[in-house]
Amino acid sequence: MTLLRQRTALIREKRSRAIAAFCGPIDSLRQEAEQGSPAQRVRTFSQDHPSDLQRALHLLQSIQGLAVVVHGPAGCASALHGVDSGTPWTVTAIDQRDSIMGGDSKLRRAIKELHASHRPPAIAIVATPVVAINNDDIESVAAELREELGTPIVPVFSDGFRSKISATGHDVVVHALLKHLVPQRPRNLGTHINLLGSSASHEDLQGLQQLLEEIGIQSLVFPRGSSLNELERVAAARLSVGLEGDDSDYAGQALRDRHGVPFLDIAPPVGNANTAHWLKTVGEAAGHGAQAALAASCHAHRLQRSVQALAAFNGARVFVNLPAPQAFAFADLLAELGLVLAGLKLPSYAGVGDAALGQLAARLPHLPLLVGEGQPFEEVNLLQRLRPDLYIGRGVSSSHALRLGIPTLDLDRIPLHGYLGAERVAREIARSLSNPALARFLGGGADEHYKPSWLTRSTHWYVKQEVK
């Protein structure tokens, strides 16, 4: 019960002792993790990286039926600009005077105007750094207008500076949704399970839902892309299944503690073997074990062709930039495809007692590992040393690799999970490795953003362990 009793979620650094900075061989991190928790390092030079506010807005605008009021200066809503999600949103655009005298009246007005113009089924108020500093009482405004407008109003306490890990924004949104929009677990449970995912694309998650349907399991996804109707059914699920490690843990634990929904926290279904294990485990937990085993066997047979398609690239070296659970599972997929993991970048790492890290470190103890969001200098520096044949990541991060002439694969465009993901990833890897000319042309083989003297520094030059 304790998680949702709090005003908001703890920052990741405290909740799961996650770290935002590390640079070195993976086995060093394993040793630190085994001795307790990895040391919290600092960057003496840090580049742009997303904040928890951006992450919170990104997730909120995916919730269907929810309107968003950003309570802060106009720029704090920039993450919502140009995003065609259909989410009605507004920003209170507080000014100097509001920052001094309090911006409650503007917040009230913004909520009422949004309510009058869109009649949304629910409204989220997102706190921003200025509001966090001057302590506007958004909780009271939410309580007052909830009553007056007859609409659920959800305060989301992001602040943009307490945590170095943007995933904290995910937790504060999940906390707010579960606390204010998810009703009590009913006596008559549904027949569905919850898939707890937030980073994977809609297509990716839909693929997993279809896979579960093959074995007779209905599912709904929480929180990414959930509708308000689905939120009402989250607590009625037979089971919650985590897809994204620490991201899923918060929702899984809160649903288990408050509503008694069992939580299955297993390695994500990335790659053939991991997907088979995931499908069988989920199937057994939901009472569909036999169907799951049969489906896994059929898919495994079918996927042999994907592996054969990559035989020509056996031994190709791949750099992977993904959240930790996906990255570790992806290493297994690469091994299945006969490819070599050359280096790894994780946005953060919270792996106390993490078996996946241990297994990977046992197999590749010297594997270069970077932990940090953004930080293109460190990434470029490492990529230049490693010169992998392929870079796999999400979104704009792959542009750094392209500038170095390294072919890239953007996992925002294709599914990653399940058999569908394994198949599509294998096909796209083959395509990227077959056509390296475009990347070489784009990159010219050098990143001119950094002077050579910088790039000769060690990758961990700016990652320091504080001495207290």
Binding site: Q96, R97, S99, I100, M101, G102, N134, N135, D137
Partner: protein
Amino acid sequence: MSKKTQHLAIYGKGGIGKSTTTSNIAAALAEAGYRVVQIGCDPKSDSTNTLRGGNYLNTVLDSTRDGAVVRLNDIAAVGFKGVVCVEAGGPVPGVGCAGRGINAAISLLQELHLFEEVQADVVLYDVLGDVVCGGFAVPIREGLTDRVYVVSSSDFMAIYAANNLFKAINKYAPSGGAKLGGIIANSLSASYAQPLIDDFAERTSTRVVDYVPRSPVVAQSELYGQTVIEANPGSAQADVYRRLARAIVEDTDPVIPKPLAVNDLRQWARDWGDLILREEQPALAA
């Protein structure tokens, strides 16, 4: 009289008598012919009450409501002997950010060229309490004020607040921030009060500008809604304020204080506690 405007900030723990002292200094200087501006940097907005009969004054921050164009006449009132009174204002308790309010109010006064318009000789900033955040340090940063004075009694918490102010001055002075004029020892009555403050000044390489004794005349004048200079001009207390005002305005040698570390300050206080106990015990026994 100096041609250059002197900007002087007066700090001290809440309730120690900053506004009373500042207003009496302002009144004494005005009486002596100086053009004086007093700016209350406190959301309570009551710094200048005794200079202008206790009437409500529209604050600088009140005037900025709804993007209104602010004029000097809207935010300044002329009080005793021509002292120009301004209240920065701020949020109601529990809301907003008062430190940021002081920052914004002073910026607005500069934009309005208050000091040039008034052709002030002396501008006094009466600043709320301790230096609890960057907003309350604005008057001592960036060369805004020439000197800072701290009002302190012999109570430990007042000394503690003074020591904190010294830390802020020590931090900002090397980069152009204000230096310390000295300590204004206020409400002194106990026999040990003066030597205690003298010792603190010596330990921190500062000095005491003057000693203001506790006096019923101060309370009586405030009940009339006036300064001592106005209500009891012939009193000894009025002369104390006149002497203090003269010392402050003629002060040309400010210092950078050397604040005590927290543990040193506590040990110093303990030593004084022991000393006072030893001194008082024979009297109590008798």
